[in-house]
Symmetry: C2
Subunit: 462 residues, 2 copies
């Protein structure tokens, strides 16, 4: 423990500088304009793994962006930890809401991060959290304390649905063979109260297109006489929820697990203050499914949100036009047992059925993934909890997250091993938003906690 | 009549070339990026009026784009015709749907325009139709057949609501004094069947903004727990119409004139083929207010259309975000007796009342105008009808248009004179759409018909 602390103390400035360099590369996987930057980032990750001490590092080509694989095998008879992370980031827009450029990292103090936080797109999600593992590995190598084998699989398409990861995993079962998968791509309750994410929501992400007349029309000459695709799209979207904010898609809730009152009471113990929550978001009121509280609505309940909508004239001033087409990006967060492909089909059938004769509708599935629950009595969970307890002084609380890491379910299916989600970010770190940041405290605490996970995982595996 | 025909025959190529030059200037008033082009266009119009024979031409500055005024007073005791038109144009987007660049005019033959049509933004609305009057005036001057006084008022803000015209008209009552106002900014039934627009719809155009959380949020962590501004906006828009497509704004229909069955039977006589209408727009079905047919829905009935909507991530790929804000541009077409400012207030109050506690709503009125009906027994109407009858061989049919020219009501109020809407465009000319065009036949027919209007208007005024 002392060795770990002193090594971090000695090298922390370099750790931070290295992360800042990585954050300067705009690896936005959703926008083809950044494709070279995404490639460059994979190269940077490769080099960092080699420097940290991996024996073998490869850039594995896929149909999309490459997956960086690295490993250090010290003894085939010892357990193997597979670390997963991603080097791609979310698009930075709306860019004008950033207080500093998204790809020019700066360190600023915040209320939640008195020691300072690195502000940059990807600081927390996931370059910063991924890099904790690279540095923790370097630390174990340099202090001769690596207790087992380690493999790294860092991909570049997580923010666009990990579309090529499935094939890669299927085709590399042996290479990726492991005893536990470690991922830091989630958050924890607070810098005083660590938590381990034990549940994730699944995801179905689609794009819809509503077409009315074959060309844009003058709203004066045609207004009222033809179906306006934007009005129709709005009407269709509105029908996806009922007055209790239940989702109206037939069959949508069929496989949703209903938690017992006991389980819900257990969940309710996690520290949460609704007033602070509303205050942080400048909301007069929260809003959601009737019969559930906020922490249930965003974790154990499936949801449907429009992530983007556009159509007609959106420029300056006024244009009296009826658009030919209107579009929306819609995602559904799913809970364990809901099959994302089945849900995508249910959505497509229902949404199409809502269209009046005056328009045609096209639904294009983007991507998706299954929900996941990890048992809190597994060796991995117990090891992680011991590690947190030692570095934070208090045990971690198991929480269900509303987010989705579809590949966790994929890993269990293909690699037959459990995933432990050791997240060190905070909800307030604004991932996917302008001014994303990651606390220096959290970054270094992660590097301190991870080696202990290895230590206890090997001990408990004996 | 022969003199008119031969003059046009002799100069038509020059007329067309001059119009093409005018169409090359992208005078998009809705977009500040084009401001210099709008100014340049006002200069070009000034020069064209001087060349045509006006004694006095002025660029009249306003708080926005200037109004070009020109006049030719031959005898104060003779009647005066005031010609109104506009030199600004609609934005060209969606630009990629144009078959030729919007500001590089080309002449192409179409089914409806076997003699060819000029394709360019503004070709029909309104540069082409406005320029007919300039050339008809030149013709009368050159053939010594101008029978009365003429004044021109050509503005540059019609496509953004003529925001500064009211003040100008109020402050220049004497300068603009006239016996009849002549405008060509509407359409006619077909090249074989002229028509005169006797009714116009009013307009109320607003922009709405729905704000939820103070920043964009990760839809996984917050989805289902906070009001999503896009979903809410869709829900609010959907509530603006009921299942019969009646508008739900309380009081909206209070002043709507209900036409008698006789009047509606009279309207139904205008040639119209629903199958052709649907075919032209690639629609399986038309859509609109229950209890009214297509030609009533777009003329004697008020309507509400979303002209543009945007929010969240609209780029390539997928982004799992809950937007902080969602926006829409909404316009209402009004019928005579509906006061646009009152309707704007009714909309604002109702729309705001639809917002749940989880969001805040802002409604910003863009502009508007009153509806208008012109009597078919007025001297102006009779003179126009005689002119059409002579040049087309058949009398014009009076029609109600769904479009709005708010200034027509303004002129009647401020200048105490009636407006005659001699439109020469066709509904198929795609005004406000990609590939706007104006028939060569229509352009020249207008130049031929206008001098006859002057002739008969003076005769009938004696």
């Amino acid at each position: 423990m002392e060795i770990i602390k002193s090594y971090i103390q000695q090298h922390k400035n370099r750790f931070i500088d290295e992360l800042i360099e990585l954050l300067k590369i705009p690896s936005v996987s959703a926008d083809a304009a950044y494709s070279q930057d995404v490639i460059d980032t994979s190269e940077a990750v490769k080099i960092s793994l080699e420097k940290a001490g991996c024996d073998k590092v490869e850039i594995c080509e896929t149909a999309g962006y490459p997956i960086v694989y690295g490993e250090k095998i010290i003894d085939p008879n010892l357990p193997t930890v597979l670390v997963y992370g991603h080097y791609d980031v979310q698009p930075p827009d709306p860019i004008d809401l950033w207080t500093s450029p998204p790809f020019e990292p700066v360190i600023k103090k915040t209320e939640k991060h008195p020691d300072g936080a690195i502000f940059a797109r990807g600081a927390c999600d996931d370059k910063g959290q991924m890099y904790m593992h690279v540095k923790a590995f370097e630390l174990m190598m340099q202090t001769n304390s690596l207790p087992c084998n380690v493999k790294f699989m860092i991909e570049g398409e997580e923010e666009v649905g990990s579309v090529n990861l499935k094939t890669f995993v299927e085709n590399n079962q042996e290479k990726l063979k492991n005893d536990v998968i470690l991922i830091s791509d989630t958050g924890m309750i607070s810098n005083q109260q660590p938590s381990i994410t034990t549940g994730l929501r699944g995801l179905s992400y689609v794009e819809v297109e509503v077409t009315g007349p074959n060309r844009d029309l003058h709203s004066g000459l045609y207004g009222g006489a033809v179906a306006n695709p934007i009005n129709i799209l709005a009407k269709m979207i509105a029908q996806l929820h009922d007055e209790n904010n239940h989702i109206t898609i037939p069959g949508f809730y069929d496989n949703v697990e209903e938690l017992s009152l006991e389980e819900r009471a257990e969940m309710a113990k996690a520290p949460f203050n609704l007033e602070d929550y509303k205050k942080a978001l400048d909301l007069h009121e929260v809003y959601g499914e009737a019969g559930y509280v906020t922490n249930e609505r965003n974790s154990i309940r499936p949801t449907l949100d429009v992530n983007g909508i556009w159509g007609g004239y959106t420029g300056e001033g006024a244009k009296t036009v009826i658009a030919s087409k209107a579009f929306a990006k819609i995602s559904m967060r799913l809970v364990p047992n809901q099959d994302w492909e089945e849900i995508t089909t249910l959505f497509t059938n229902h949404f199409t059925s809502l269209a009046p004769a005056g328009v045609t509708v096209k639904v294009t599935p983007h991507h998706g993934g299954q929900g996941y629950v990890t048992p809190i009595d597994s060796i991995g969970y117990l090891a992680a909890n011991k590690a947190y307890t030692e570095t934070f002084g208090v045990p971690a609380i198991p929480v269900r997250s509303g987010g989705s890491i579809p590949i966790v379910a994929l890993f269990e299916k293909e690699l037959k091993s459990k995933t432990i989600l050791m997240g060190f970010g905070l909800d307030s770190d604004a991932i996917h938003s302008p001014n994303e940041h990651f606390g220096i405290f959290n970054f270094l605490k992660g590097i301190e906690t991870i080696p202990l996970f290895y230590k206890y995982f090997v001990e408990l595996s004996k």
